[in-house]
Symmetry: C2
Subunit: 138 residues, 2 copies
């Protein structure tokens, strides 16, 4: 009998898909999509908008699914403005592992931003390529 501890097994978020199962903590929902706060929030109020259909790429969404997502983005903006009073937002999606996607069920990030949350916010989502985020206007 061994007393060695087994390393804790981490849940694979893709098997079963974390965003297909009955979502706990749903914030808003409609026919084709729902929203939920991000479990690894990068800022207070960080929220995901998730189409119900299991598809990996944003490019594979149908127009009615995109519209459903846009409706929830607007609704979340109202909720987040009230609850968190952010000074701005980044909205974006990662498509493919090379772009940083790790759960292969489309999810659109809504990231509330706050004055001073980073030293120099200029560039915003340009910072996906960390050294290229800042630029000097010619």
């Amino acid at each position: 009998m061994s007393s060695e501890k087994q390393p804790e097994k981490k849940r694979d978020p893709n098997n079963p898909c974390l965003f297909c199962k009955d979502a706990r903590g749903v914030s808003l929902s409609n026919e084709h999509a729902y929203s939920a706060r991000d479990s690894y929030a990068v800022s207070p109020g960080h929220t995901l908008v998730i189409p119900r259909r299991h598809v990996a790429s944003f490019f594979d969404l149908m127009p009615e699914e995109i519209n459903a997502c846009m409706e929830l983005i607007s609704g979340e903006r109202r909720l987040l403005d009230q609850e968190f009073k952010p000074d701005g937002y980044n909205i974006g999606v990662n498509i493919g592992a090379a772009a940083g996607q790790s759960i292969f069920h489309v999810h659109i990030h809504i990231i509330p931003r706050y004055q001073g949350d980073v030293d120099n916010p200029q560039g915003g989502i340009r910072h996906v390529i960390p050294k290229k985020g800042h630029y000097t206007r010619r």
Copy 2:
């Protein structure tokens, strides 16, 4: 008479608005939006999708403007796939100076991504908050 050099005056991209004027280098266009390659590309093929109407915030777009932008995002994806053969994409928008917006006319970034363009791409647009981009799944 002075021989001092005047510091070169940098163009203010908001006055007049860089994205309202007759755009050079338009890639695709439709009734409500156009696309163009980014002048400060963070990756080969970095493209902007820009509604024609001058409005600062993505949240102030009307449904037909959002649909027009989505149409151009799809069209650009086809063009960029052909020309640059990226391995993924980030798509996103900055809303407000606190979120890194510096030209106050809505523009949606399409950032093609390539294997190895950063050491660890995981997180993607989470990197708007640089230290929070990476996370370890619990």
